[in-house]
Subunit: 282 residues, 2 copies
């Protein structure tokens, strides 16, 4: 595995690969890698000739009062994990090179970013879309693999790819969970023992909603009320949203007809966690 | 020359060319071609293996009260002109395919679009940047040629290319003028004989400003006042702006130190015309 730190070198390596008609799979990350990231890499490894991963804690997707400075970092062990997953090139750019003085161009995906996390994190998805487009242009992937845990991010990237006529296949991969159900997240490291217990209310809510829908519940308001009170009965929890939305447009649903995305964001202590699942009506 | 009407076909032709390591030069236009466009094509023809031109009257770069419906069209004679310039592929997409239902992604280049035409045409450059990026992604050019007549557009595209890490060489080409000095524009066709005479006040202003600077004028306010009154002394003229700005940032200058872009936009009758030149202090 080769560690690449400059845009120029990464771009040259990618261009040379494209000229040799090699396919490139790309997994973008913010580092502090866990099994969720590694499952994306393992899946990507089987899909292309060359596997590129990136680690970049992208400042433009954090709001002014968010946890950019607190976001955990671990380059050395991340490197080893990437090597173990068969990554060929690990791209690790510097902020100053990604966003030099005078930088002023952003990509805005409007409607699918209006609800859920986009509501309280207005700059977040513009930051995500912009950095992902920059990385695509540098790395020139044939395909890219994103986790379904960040479902709104996955929908946003799919929409951007379609709308800007990019020729990148966007592959989604299921959320990887701890044995007790907690969705893997780099932010889990911040949880105290007690908060860790309360964090289980997120994945438990998904199961609870599945049961309610299986039992015939279709109106979303009572399901949301039930889950919100279920979550807030756990100490240190403060829901940002509990939403049932159309899985493509991410617009709120009043009634579940064929299916819905259940999406949750909950502050547990100081740590904001998200989780989601698709609820299908059979 | 091959006329291509679908995104899919254009994209396949371009991908095949890239795979054969061919270079592609691209000249985007809104059609109704004049010598200005043809000079871009002639220049581009010498720079790459394959020359692609596009004709697309892009609806997203026109504001609600602008002249989209009135914009002149002439596909048949445009085709012949492209053929004569050695264009290999003329891409002529349909609006509905460029902007299908659900389309919602835009590219915003912020600071260089804030002044000049961007001031009174707030959606214009977002429309331009977005469609040009889409066309780049479909056509995969090695280089692209833009006219300096639309100077702010050229600066915006250069900025977007740099900021989004696109690997496209952006080449600017000088404005082509009628024998009497009027900058070529598809919109000139709308001018009455009397308006046509008044329209000469734009190019005459450029000469006038060059003389003032050669004579030692450096403060911008008196130059702007002189040119504004010179223009408005011609019938049917209504200046939108007369500006002296930094040629890179396009921010207003109080004093010309090393050089400036003089940029004009003037409504002549119902037709909005623009012109510009670089004023250098030697």
């Amino acid at each position: 595995m080769q560690l690449i730190e400059t845009i120029n070198e990464m771009s040259q390596v990618a261009t040379a690969a494209v000229r040799r008609n090699k396919t490139i799979a790309f997994v973008p990350t913010m580092g502090f890698l866990h099994q969720g990231h590694l499952s994306l890499m393992a899946h990507a490894r089987g899909l292309a000739d060359i596997l590129v991963a990136s680690i970049f804690v992208n400042p433009t997707q954090f709001g002014p009062n968010e946890d950019l400075d607190r976001y955990p970092r671990a380059l050395e062990s991340d490197s080893q994990k990437c090597r173990d997953q068969g990554v060929d090139y690990l791209f690790f750019p510097q902020s100053q090179e990604m966003y030099p003085d005078g930088w002023q161009t952003t990509v805005n995906v409007s409607r699918v970013t209006a609800n859920l996390c986009g509501k309280n994190r207005p700059v977040h998805f513009t930051g995500v879309a912009t950095v992902v487009l920059k990385l695509f242009n540098i790395i020139k992937p044939t395909l890219t693999v994103f986790g379904e845990k960040d479902y709104q991010q996955l929908v946003t990237i799919r929409r951007m790819v379609k709308d800007l006529n990019l020729e990148v296949d966007v592959v989604g991969q299921p959320t990887v969970r701890e044995p007790d159900g907690l969705a893997m997240s780099s932010r889990n490291v911040h949880l105290s023992t007690e908060e860790r217990r309360s964090a289980l209310s997120l994945s438990a809510s998904l199961a609870r909603a599945r049961d309610m829908v299986a039992a015939g519940a279709r109106a979303t308001a009572p399901i949301i009320a039930d889950l919100t009170s279920f979550i807030t009965n756990h100490p240190h929890t403060n829901p940002d949203y509990v939403s049932l939305v159309d899985p493509e447009t991410l617009e709120d649903l009043n009634v579940i007809e064929t299916g819905a995305l259940l999406a949750l964001a909950v502050k547990v202590g100081q740590t904001r966690l998200i989780d989601n699942c698709i609820l299908s009506v059979s």
